[in-house]
């Protein structure tokens, strides 16, 4: 099975992710894949959930915190600015309070609480998480390409969904118990209509959004998750370890892509000693990969002669991944 085939065969897999250890080329693969799909006429959003995002560097265009930005027709890229998101979130909460109670000004103790919320240790990550939920729930694109952060962090991001889910479940349970007593009071007072519990509704709303986004992540019909690896011992071992961890979160694995494969035609050319040794090593580990991952290997992408930045190099990489298009 090749990468192109996967895309042709499963057109419903519209959420694409590349995972793997740091520095193996996930971001460049994300960029190249989005480029390929855009050229195929699909409307694509590639977005980064990584505060050290490199999409700006790859596309050579400052997109940080600017929302979805058009790179070429049909290709949009976005880098989330967590700080900005947090600020917007705080403002949203403030506005809601003002609207709900017709106040002109937020009471001081509330205002200082809202401000202090920015100092919450997990605020930044959660803001990014929430923005992704937003992006996915909002819709509007044919393909969504997640530029995931390095391994551990990606797991952290996935576990975040389950933590929030559990949290919401717990406090929803409390709200529901409260509702019981509300009903009892209503029975005693012979009130027919019971006011809706706004908090319960809000919780259900949040839960629905989170579930929607995390169910996408774990839905094999909708999601393609590719692992990127290289032909090196430590990388292979770590990838196996990571794949097991991802399996725990029910992330459906679509296959593996081997990156940085030295082009074999080089072997016949005059190459320095270091490369000769590398070739030897590569051959050995390609064999290992073949044994361990077998036909789950979707593509071997050659080592580029220079780093992938700018559209021409992205196109070149895309062609290396998907063949000519």
């Amino acid at each position: 099975m090749s990468l192109t085939k996967i895309f042709e065969q499963y057109p419903d897999r519209r959420y694409i992710m590349f995972g793997g250890k740091g520095g193996l080329g996930k971001t460049t693969f994300s960029a190249a894949t989005s480029y390929y799909l855009a050229k195929k006429g699909k409307k694509v959003l590639v977005f980064s959930v990584d505060p050290q995002a490199s999409l700006t560097d790859i596309f050579q265009k400052d997109i940080f915190g600017k929302g979805p930005t058009e790179i070429i027709p049909n290709l949009y890229a976005q880098e989330i600015d967590a700080d900005k998101r947090v600020k917007a979130y705080q403002q949203e909460v403030r506005q809601k309070i003002l609207d709900m109670y017709g106040m002109d000004k937020i009471p001081e103790e509330i205002e200082s609480y809202i401000q202090a919320a920015a100092a919450e240790p997990a605020m930044e990550e959660s803001a990014i998480f929430d923005e992704v939920v937003d992006i996915v729930v909002r819709g509007g694109y044919d393909y969504y390409i997640y530029d995931l952060v390095p391994l551990g962090h990606a797991l952290y991001y996935l576990s975040m969904a389950s933590v929030y889910d559990a949290w919401i479940d717990k406090i929803t349970k409390l709200r529901e118990q409260m509702r019981e007593y509300d009903q009892v009071a209503a029975v005693m007072q012979r009130e027919k209509e019971l006011d809706e519990d706004a908090i319960l509704n809000e919780l259900l709303y949040i839960k629905e959004r989170i579930n929607k986004s995390s169910s996408i992540l774990t839905d094999k019909a909708k999601t393609a998750f590719f692992f990127v690896l290289t032909a090196e011992d430590m990388i292979i071992k770590d990838t196996q370890k990571a794949a097991a961890l991802f399996a725990k979160f029910d992330v459906p694995l679509s296959g593996y892509i081997i990156n940085r494969v030295l082009p074999s035609e080089l072997k016949s050319e005059n190459i320095p000693e270091y490369l000769k040794n590398r070739f030897l090593m590569q051959e050995h580990y390609l064999e290992v990969i073949k044994n361990d991952f077998g036909n789950e290997i979707l593509a071997s992408v050659p080592e580029m002669e220079r780093d992938v930045t700018g559209l021409p190099m992205i196109e070149k990489l895309a062609k290396a991944m998907f063949g000519d298009f």
Binding site: Y113, S126, F129, Y164, L174, Q177, M188, Q189
Partner: protein, 90 residues
């Protein structure tokens, strides 16, 4: 005449409320009391940091803040008021 009718309705309404006060008020009050103390627990576990209880409220608890704004000062009062035996007697 109409006014007299209204007054009569008012009287029956009062009697109804009196009977409610005798029989049902305690039960309804208890249900609401229980509900409210659960609400206080709810605010505590979602926004306890407001009183310096070392809870890290998750990102989404801020979304709930608008709904509890009117209750915050009474909540704080209820959490912090010194109580003794005589408070629970009636």
């Amino acid at each position: 005449m109409a006014e007299k009718e209204k007054k009569k309705g008012g009287f029956f309404q009062s009697v109804k409320e009196f009977v409610y006060g005798v029989a049902a008020h305690d039960s309804a009050r208890f249900a609401l009391k229980t509900r409210a103390s659960m609400e206080h627990l709810f605010i505590l576990i979602t926004m306890g940091d407001m009183l310096g209880v070392p809870i890290l409220p998750p990102y989404y608890s801020l979304r709930l803040l608008p709904y509890v704004v009117p209750q915050i000062s009474t909540w704080k009062r209820r959490m912090l008021r010194e109580k003794d035996l005589t408070d629970g007697l009636a």
